[in-house]
Protein backbone atom coordinates (compact mmCIF):
# COMPACT_ATOMS: atom_id res chain seq x y z
CA UNK A 1 0.00 0.00 0.00
CA UNK A 2 1.45 3.32 -1.02
CA UNK A 3 -0.40 5.98 0.76
CA UNK A 4 1.08 9.34 1.54
CA UNK A 5 -0.71 11.50 4.08
CA UNK A 6 -2.37 14.43 2.29
CA UNK A 7 -0.76 17.85 2.32
CA UNK A 8 -2.43 20.67 4.29
CA UNK A 9 -1.87 24.38 4.11
CA UNK A 10 -1.70 25.99 7.52
CA UNK A 11 -3.00 29.41 8.52
CA UNK A 12 -2.39 30.87 11.95
CA UNK A 13 -3.78 33.90 13.71
CA UNK A 14 -1.52 35.50 16.28
CA UNK A 15 -2.42 37.14 19.54
CA UNK A 16 -2.97 40.69 18.39
CA UNK A 17 -6.10 40.29 16.39
CA UNK A 18 -4.36 40.10 13.04
CA UNK A 19 -6.02 37.91 10.47
CA UNK A 20 -4.97 34.34 9.84
CA UNK A 21 -1.85 34.08 7.75
CA UNK A 22 -0.33 31.27 5.78
CA UNK A 23 2.68 29.88 7.62
CA UNK A 24 3.49 26.77 5.61
CA UNK A 25 2.28 23.27 5.06
CA UNK A 26 2.46 19.81 6.59
CA UNK A 27 1.12 16.29 6.19
CA UNK A 28 -1.67 14.69 8.20
CA UNK A 29 -4.20 11.90 7.72
CA UNK A 30 -7.18 14.20 8.26
CA UNK A 31 -8.18 17.74 9.22
CA UNK A 32 -8.30 17.02 12.92
CA UNK A 33 -4.77 15.67 12.98
CA UNK A 34 -3.64 18.48 10.69
CA UNK A 35 -4.74 20.98 13.34
CA UNK A 36 -2.90 19.08 16.04
CA UNK A 37 0.20 18.76 13.91
CA UNK A 38 0.05 22.46 13.12
CA UNK A 39 -0.08 23.24 16.80
CA UNK A 40 3.03 21.13 17.35
CA UNK A 41 4.94 22.26 14.27
CA UNK A 42 4.04 25.91 13.78
CA UNK A 43 3.41 27.24 17.28
CA UNK A 44 6.60 26.01 18.98
CA UNK A 45 7.36 29.60 19.92
CA UNK A 46 3.81 30.55 20.87
CA UNK A 47 3.14 32.11 17.51
CA UNK A 48 -0.57 31.65 17.37
CA UNK A 49 -3.91 31.31 19.05
CA UNK A 50 -6.07 30.06 16.20
CA UNK A 51 -5.30 27.57 13.46
CA UNK A 52 -7.00 26.96 10.13
CA UNK A 53 -6.09 24.04 7.91
CA UNK A 54 -7.04 23.58 4.27
CA UNK A 55 -6.18 20.51 2.28
CA UNK A 56 -3.72 21.68 -0.35
CA UNK A 57 -5.66 20.14 -3.26
CA UNK A 58 -8.59 22.37 -2.37
CA UNK A 59 -6.64 25.59 -2.62
CA UNK A 60 -7.06 27.40 -5.87
CA UNK A 61 -5.48 30.78 -5.75
CA UNK A 62 -2.68 32.95 -6.88
CA UNK A 63 0.11 33.14 -4.33
CA UNK A 64 0.56 36.66 -3.05
CA UNK A 65 3.86 37.17 -1.37
CA UNK A 66 3.88 36.27 2.28
CA UNK A 67 5.99 38.55 4.36
CA UNK A 68 7.10 35.78 6.70
CA UNK A 69 5.79 34.38 9.91
CA UNK A 70 4.62 36.28 12.88
CA UNK A 71 6.54 35.58 16.03
CA UNK A 72 5.42 36.05 19.58
CA UNK A 73 7.71 35.58 22.55
CA UNK A 74 7.31 32.23 24.23
CA UNK A 75 6.55 32.06 27.90
CA UNK A 76 8.18 28.96 29.27
CA UNK A 77 10.68 27.94 26.61
CA UNK A 78 12.74 31.10 26.74
CA UNK A 79 15.83 29.19 25.68
CA UNK A 80 14.38 28.95 22.19
CA UNK A 81 15.14 32.61 21.72
CA UNK A 82 18.63 33.70 20.77
CA UNK A 83 18.74 36.43 23.40
CA UNK A 84 18.50 33.76 26.10
CA UNK A 85 22.19 33.17 25.44
CA UNK A 86 24.43 36.00 26.52
CA UNK A 87 27.10 36.31 23.90
CA UNK A 88 29.88 38.86 24.46
CA UNK A 89 30.07 41.75 21.98
CA UNK A 90 33.69 40.91 21.20
CA UNK A 91 32.81 37.77 19.26
CA UNK A 92 30.75 39.55 16.65
CA UNK A 93 27.26 38.92 15.38
CA UNK A 94 25.72 35.49 15.78
Amino acid sequence: MKHEWPLWEIFIRGQHGMSHRHVGSLHAPDAEMAIKNARDVYTRRNEGVSIWVVEAVNVSASSPEDKGAFYEPSNSKVYRHPTFFDIPDEVGSM
Binding site: M1, K2, H3, E4, W5, L7, V23, G24, S25, L26, H27, P29, D30, M33, V41, R44, S62, S63, E65, D66, G68, A69, Y71, K77, Y79, R80, H81, P82, F84, F85, D86, I87, P88, E90, V91, G92, S93, M94
Partner: protein, 330 residues
Protein backbone atom coordinates in the same frame (compact mmCIF):
# COMPACT_ATOMS: atom_id res chain seq x y z
CA UNK B 1 26.54 23.82 2.74
CA UNK B 2 23.32 22.01 3.53
CA UNK B 3 22.75 21.98 -0.21
CA UNK B 4 26.15 21.04 -1.48
CA UNK B 5 27.42 20.40 -4.99
CA UNK B 6 23.92 20.60 -6.37
CA UNK B 7 24.14 19.87 -10.06
CA UNK B 8 22.51 22.68 -11.99
CA UNK B 9 20.34 21.29 -14.78
CA UNK B 10 21.13 22.46 -18.30
CA UNK B 11 24.41 23.35 -19.92
CA UNK B 12 25.27 26.67 -18.37
CA UNK B 13 24.02 30.21 -18.68
CA UNK B 14 22.11 30.93 -21.80
CA UNK B 15 22.85 34.09 -23.72
CA UNK B 16 19.87 36.36 -24.07
CA UNK B 17 19.52 35.67 -27.79
CA UNK B 18 19.38 31.92 -27.09
CA UNK B 19 16.39 32.41 -24.80
CA UNK B 20 12.79 32.14 -25.86
CA UNK B 21 10.63 35.15 -25.18
CA UNK B 22 9.16 33.37 -22.17
CA UNK B 23 12.64 32.68 -20.80
CA UNK B 24 13.62 36.29 -21.31
CA UNK B 25 10.58 37.49 -19.37
CA UNK B 26 11.38 35.00 -16.63
CA UNK B 27 14.97 36.21 -16.37
CA UNK B 28 13.80 39.84 -16.35
CA UNK B 29 11.50 39.15 -13.44
CA UNK B 30 14.38 37.62 -11.49
CA UNK B 31 16.67 40.50 -12.37
CA UNK B 32 14.07 42.94 -11.10
CA UNK B 33 14.06 41.06 -7.79
CA UNK B 34 10.57 39.63 -8.20
CA UNK B 35 9.73 36.32 -6.59
CA UNK B 36 8.78 33.33 -8.68
CA UNK B 37 5.72 31.61 -7.25
CA UNK B 38 4.59 27.98 -7.65
CA UNK B 39 1.97 28.55 -10.34
CA UNK B 40 4.17 30.86 -12.42
CA UNK B 41 5.80 29.63 -15.58
CA UNK B 42 9.42 28.57 -15.04
CA UNK B 43 12.03 26.82 -17.19
CA UNK B 44 12.20 23.07 -16.59
CA UNK B 45 15.83 23.29 -15.60
CA UNK B 46 15.05 25.92 -12.97
CA UNK B 47 12.42 23.61 -11.52
CA UNK B 48 14.67 20.54 -11.63
CA UNK B 49 17.61 22.33 -10.06
CA UNK B 50 15.45 23.75 -7.29
CA UNK B 51 13.98 20.35 -6.47
CA UNK B 52 17.50 18.98 -6.15
CA UNK B 53 18.69 21.87 -4.06
CA UNK B 54 15.71 22.25 -1.72
CA UNK B 55 15.41 18.47 -1.42
CA UNK B 56 19.05 18.13 -0.47
CA UNK B 57 18.67 20.96 1.98
CA UNK B 58 15.64 19.26 3.57
CA UNK B 59 17.38 15.89 3.75
CA UNK B 60 20.32 17.56 5.47
CA UNK B 61 18.08 18.93 8.18
CA UNK B 62 16.55 15.54 8.85
CA UNK B 63 19.78 13.53 8.72
CA UNK B 64 21.30 16.38 10.71
CA UNK B 65 19.07 15.45 13.63
CA UNK B 66 21.13 12.32 14.17
CA UNK B 67 24.59 13.57 15.22
CA UNK B 68 23.09 15.89 17.82
CA UNK B 69 20.31 13.48 18.72
CA UNK B 70 23.19 11.22 19.70
CA UNK B 71 23.66 13.35 22.85
CA UNK B 72 20.10 14.17 23.92
CA UNK B 73 19.97 11.27 26.36
CA UNK B 74 23.37 12.22 27.79
CA UNK B 75 22.94 15.98 28.20
CA UNK B 76 24.48 16.96 31.53
CA UNK B 77 21.67 19.07 33.03
CA UNK B 78 17.91 19.30 32.67
CA UNK B 79 18.18 22.68 31.00
CA UNK B 80 20.83 21.51 28.52
CA UNK B 81 18.69 18.50 27.76
CA UNK B 82 15.66 20.66 27.05
CA UNK B 83 17.67 23.09 24.93
CA UNK B 84 19.28 20.33 22.87
CA UNK B 85 15.99 18.53 22.37
CA UNK B 86 14.32 21.78 21.30
CA UNK B 87 17.19 22.42 18.92
CA UNK B 88 17.12 18.99 17.29
CA UNK B 89 13.34 19.25 17.10
CA UNK B 90 13.79 22.54 15.25
CA UNK B 91 15.90 20.67 12.66
CA UNK B 92 12.96 18.36 12.07
CA UNK B 93 10.82 21.47 11.67
CA UNK B 94 13.26 22.95 9.18
CA UNK B 95 13.21 19.74 7.21
CA UNK B 96 9.45 19.91 7.20
CA UNK B 97 9.34 23.54 5.99
CA UNK B 98 11.80 22.73 3.21
CA UNK B 99 9.98 19.60 2.09
CA UNK B 100 6.91 21.82 1.94
CA UNK B 101 8.77 24.25 -0.33
CA UNK B 102 9.94 21.39 -2.55
CA UNK B 103 6.40 20.07 -2.75
CA UNK B 104 5.22 23.29 -4.38
CA UNK B 105 7.41 22.28 -7.33
CA UNK B 106 5.46 19.12 -8.02
CA UNK B 107 7.22 16.38 -6.08
CA UNK B 108 5.88 14.74 -2.93
CA UNK B 109 7.77 14.43 0.33
CA UNK B 110 7.54 10.65 0.19
CA UNK B 111 9.03 10.59 -3.32
CA UNK B 112 12.12 12.55 -2.44
CA UNK B 113 12.41 10.77 0.90
CA UNK B 114 12.59 7.52 -1.00
CA UNK B 115 15.22 9.04 -3.27
CA UNK B 116 17.29 9.85 -0.21
CA UNK B 117 16.83 6.42 1.33
CA UNK B 118 17.82 4.71 -1.91
CA UNK B 119 20.95 6.88 -2.17
CA UNK B 120 19.71 8.79 -5.23
CA UNK B 121 19.74 12.10 -3.39
CA UNK B 122 22.40 13.46 -1.06
CA UNK B 123 22.59 15.39 2.18
CA UNK B 124 25.37 17.57 3.51
CA UNK B 125 28.73 15.86 4.04
CA UNK B 126 29.04 17.35 7.53
CA UNK B 127 26.50 14.97 9.02
CA UNK B 128 28.67 12.00 8.18
CA UNK B 129 31.05 12.96 10.96
CA UNK B 130 30.55 11.62 14.49
CA UNK B 131 29.81 13.58 17.65
CA UNK B 132 32.18 12.22 20.28
CA UNK B 133 32.13 14.47 23.31
CA UNK B 134 29.73 16.98 24.86
CA UNK B 135 31.65 19.94 23.44
CA UNK B 136 30.62 18.68 20.00
CA UNK B 137 27.12 19.90 20.87
CA UNK B 138 28.67 23.31 21.28
CA UNK B 139 30.82 23.11 18.18
CA UNK B 140 28.03 21.82 15.96
CA UNK B 141 25.66 24.61 16.96
CA UNK B 142 28.33 27.29 16.73
CA UNK B 143 30.20 26.16 13.62
CA UNK B 144 27.84 23.95 11.61
CA UNK B 145 24.77 26.07 12.18
CA UNK B 146 26.96 29.15 11.93
CA UNK B 147 28.16 28.07 8.50
CA UNK B 148 24.64 27.21 7.44
CA UNK B 149 23.37 30.63 8.53
CA UNK B 150 25.84 32.39 6.27
CA UNK B 151 24.35 30.61 3.31
CA UNK B 152 20.78 30.75 4.50
CA UNK B 153 20.78 34.45 5.24
CA UNK B 154 21.72 35.01 1.61
CA UNK B 155 19.07 32.56 0.46
CA UNK B 156 16.33 34.62 2.09
CA UNK B 157 16.68 36.69 -1.10
CA UNK B 158 16.48 33.70 -3.41
CA UNK B 159 14.17 34.02 -6.40
CA UNK B 160 11.80 31.19 -5.54
CA UNK B 161 9.13 32.50 -3.15
CA UNK B 162 8.38 29.40 -1.08
CA UNK B 163 12.11 28.69 -0.65
CA UNK B 164 12.81 32.28 0.39
CA UNK B 165 9.97 32.21 2.90
CA UNK B 166 11.14 28.91 4.38
CA UNK B 167 14.58 30.51 4.74
CA UNK B 168 13.16 33.51 6.59
CA UNK B 169 11.49 31.24 9.08
CA UNK B 170 14.55 29.03 9.41
CA UNK B 171 16.99 31.90 9.87
CA UNK B 172 15.00 33.24 12.81
CA UNK B 173 15.35 29.86 14.48
CA UNK B 174 18.98 29.24 13.51
CA UNK B 175 20.26 32.17 15.49
CA UNK B 176 19.10 30.38 18.64
CA UNK B 177 21.04 27.33 17.46
CA UNK B 178 24.34 29.08 16.88
CA UNK B 179 24.13 31.01 20.12
CA UNK B 180 23.27 28.00 22.28
CA UNK B 181 26.24 26.24 20.68
CA UNK B 182 28.64 29.08 21.43
CA UNK B 183 27.24 29.25 24.94
CA UNK B 184 28.20 25.61 25.49
CA UNK B 185 31.66 26.34 24.09
CA UNK B 186 32.13 29.26 26.49
CA UNK B 187 31.21 27.03 29.43
CA UNK B 188 33.53 24.28 28.26
CA UNK B 189 36.47 26.52 27.37
CA UNK B 190 36.34 28.19 30.77
CA UNK B 191 35.65 24.99 32.69
CA UNK B 192 37.87 22.25 34.07
CA UNK B 193 41.00 21.20 32.14
CA UNK B 194 39.08 18.17 30.86
CA UNK B 195 36.25 20.37 29.60
CA UNK B 196 38.67 22.71 27.88
CA UNK B 197 40.33 19.69 26.24
CA UNK B 198 36.93 18.53 24.98
CA UNK B 199 36.29 21.98 23.52
CA UNK B 200 39.64 22.02 21.73
CA UNK B 201 39.13 18.47 20.47
CA UNK B 202 35.71 19.31 19.09
CA UNK B 203 37.00 22.42 17.34
CA UNK B 204 40.00 20.63 15.82
CA UNK B 205 37.97 17.67 14.65
CA UNK B 206 35.10 19.64 13.13
CA UNK B 207 36.99 22.59 11.61
CA UNK B 208 37.86 21.12 8.21
CA UNK B 209 34.60 19.21 7.79
CA UNK B 210 32.80 22.51 8.41
CA UNK B 211 34.95 24.28 5.77
CA UNK B 212 33.97 21.46 3.40
CA UNK B 213 30.31 22.28 3.91
CA UNK B 214 30.69 25.16 1.45
CA UNK B 215 31.85 22.75 -1.27
CA UNK B 216 34.95 22.92 -3.45
CA UNK B 217 35.89 26.10 -5.25
CA UNK B 218 33.30 26.83 -7.90
CA UNK B 219 34.37 30.20 -9.24
CA UNK B 220 34.79 28.93 -12.78
CA UNK B 221 31.83 26.55 -12.82
CA UNK B 222 29.23 27.12 -15.54
CA UNK B 223 26.67 25.50 -13.25
CA UNK B 224 27.33 28.07 -10.58
CA UNK B 225 26.92 30.84 -13.11
CA UNK B 226 23.49 29.59 -14.16
CA UNK B 227 22.30 29.07 -10.59
CA UNK B 228 23.53 32.54 -9.71
CA UNK B 229 21.74 34.07 -12.70
CA UNK B 230 18.57 32.39 -11.44
CA UNK B 231 19.28 33.63 -7.92
CA UNK B 232 19.05 30.20 -6.37
CA UNK B 233 22.70 30.45 -5.45
CA UNK B 234 23.63 33.84 -4.12
CA UNK B 235 27.42 33.73 -3.67
CA UNK B 236 30.26 31.43 -4.72
CA UNK B 237 31.45 28.73 -2.36
CA UNK B 238 34.75 30.51 -1.82
CA UNK B 239 33.09 33.80 -0.94
CA UNK B 240 30.91 32.11 1.66
CA UNK B 241 33.79 30.10 3.09
CA UNK B 242 35.93 33.22 3.43
CA UNK B 243 33.12 35.02 5.18
CA UNK B 244 32.80 32.15 7.59
CA UNK B 245 36.52 32.04 8.40
CA UNK B 246 36.65 35.80 8.85
CA UNK B 247 33.82 35.85 11.36
CA UNK B 248 34.91 32.72 13.23
CA UNK B 249 38.56 33.47 13.98
CA UNK B 250 37.76 36.13 16.56
CA UNK B 251 35.19 33.83 18.13
CA UNK B 252 37.84 31.13 18.55
CA UNK B 253 40.23 33.65 20.05
CA UNK B 254 37.61 34.87 22.49
CA UNK B 255 37.19 31.31 23.75
CA UNK B 256 40.92 31.13 24.39
CA UNK B 257 41.23 28.03 22.24
CA UNK B 258 44.05 27.38 19.83
CA UNK B 259 43.34 27.95 16.17
CA UNK B 260 42.67 24.61 14.49
CA UNK B 261 44.87 25.55 11.53
CA UNK B 262 48.38 27.05 12.04
CA UNK B 263 48.12 28.81 8.69
CA UNK B 264 45.25 31.02 9.74
CA UNK B 265 46.76 34.51 9.49
CA UNK B 266 45.41 37.98 8.85
CA UNK B 267 46.36 39.20 5.41
CA UNK B 268 46.77 42.96 5.34
CA UNK B 269 46.55 43.18 1.57
CA UNK B 270 43.34 41.22 1.08
CA UNK B 271 41.91 42.39 4.42
CA UNK B 272 40.85 38.88 5.22
CA UNK B 273 42.24 35.74 6.82
CA UNK B 274 44.41 33.26 4.92
CA UNK B 275 43.71 29.64 5.84
CA UNK B 276 44.51 26.09 4.71
CA UNK B 277 42.25 24.33 2.28
CA UNK B 278 40.57 21.21 3.60
CA UNK B 279 41.56 17.83 2.18
CA UNK B 280 39.28 17.59 -0.83
CA UNK B 281 40.11 13.91 -1.33
CA UNK B 282 38.49 13.25 2.02
CA UNK B 283 35.52 15.38 0.98
CA UNK B 284 34.93 13.35 -2.18
CA UNK B 285 35.29 10.13 -0.20
CA UNK B 286 32.58 11.30 2.17
CA UNK B 287 30.34 12.36 -0.72
CA UNK B 288 30.76 8.92 -2.26
CA UNK B 289 29.55 7.27 0.93
CA UNK B 290 32.85 6.59 2.67
CA UNK B 291 32.65 9.07 5.53
CA UNK B 292 32.89 7.83 9.10
CA UNK B 293 29.11 7.71 9.58
CA UNK B 294 27.46 7.46 6.15
CA UNK B 295 26.38 3.87 6.64
CA UNK B 296 25.04 4.49 10.15
CA UNK B 297 23.13 7.62 9.12
CA UNK B 298 21.39 5.94 6.22
CA UNK B 299 20.67 2.85 8.30
CA UNK B 300 19.04 5.02 10.98
CA UNK B 301 16.89 6.89 8.46
CA UNK B 302 15.88 3.70 6.68
CA UNK B 303 14.98 2.04 9.97
CA UNK B 304 12.82 4.99 11.04
CA UNK B 305 11.06 4.93 7.67
CA UNK B 306 10.56 1.15 7.53
CA UNK B 307 9.54 0.78 11.18
CA UNK B 308 7.20 3.73 10.83
CA UNK B 309 5.28 2.40 7.84
CA UNK B 310 2.61 0.62 9.86
CA UNK B 311 2.04 3.79 11.89
CA UNK B 312 1.64 6.00 8.82
CA UNK B 313 -0.61 3.44 7.16
CA UNK B 314 -2.61 2.81 10.32
CA UNK B 315 -3.42 6.47 10.95
CA UNK B 316 -4.29 6.99 7.29
CA UNK B 317 -6.58 3.96 7.25
CA UNK B 318 -8.37 5.29 10.32
CA UNK B 319 -8.85 8.71 8.74
CA UNK B 320 -10.35 7.05 5.67
CA UNK B 321 -12.73 4.97 7.77
CA UNK B 322 -13.86 8.09 9.58
CA UNK B 323 -14.39 9.97 6.34
CA UNK B 324 -16.35 7.07 4.87
CA UNK B 325 -18.54 6.84 7.98
CA UNK B 326 -19.25 10.56 7.74
CA UNK B 327 -20.29 10.26 4.12
CA UNK B 328 -22.48 7.25 4.92
CA UNK B 329 -24.19 9.20 7.70
CA UNK B 330 -25.12 12.08 5.40
Amino acid sequence: MYAQMVKTAGSGVKDRDEMSEQEQDFQDRIDRGEKIEPKDWMPDNYRITLIRQIGQHAHSEVVGQLPEGNWITRAPTLERKAILLAKVQDEAGHGLYLYGAAETLGVSRDEITEDLLAGRMKYSSIFNYPTLNWADMGAVGWLVDGAAIINQVALQRTSYGPYARAMVRICKEESFHARQGYHIMMKMASGTPEQKAMAQDALNRLWYPVLMMFGPSDKESVHTAQSMAWKIKMDTNDELRQKFVDQTVQQIEYLGLELPDPNIKWNDETKQYDYSDPDWTEFFDVIKGNGPCNVDRMAARNKAWDDGKWVRDGLMAHAEKKAAAKVAAQ
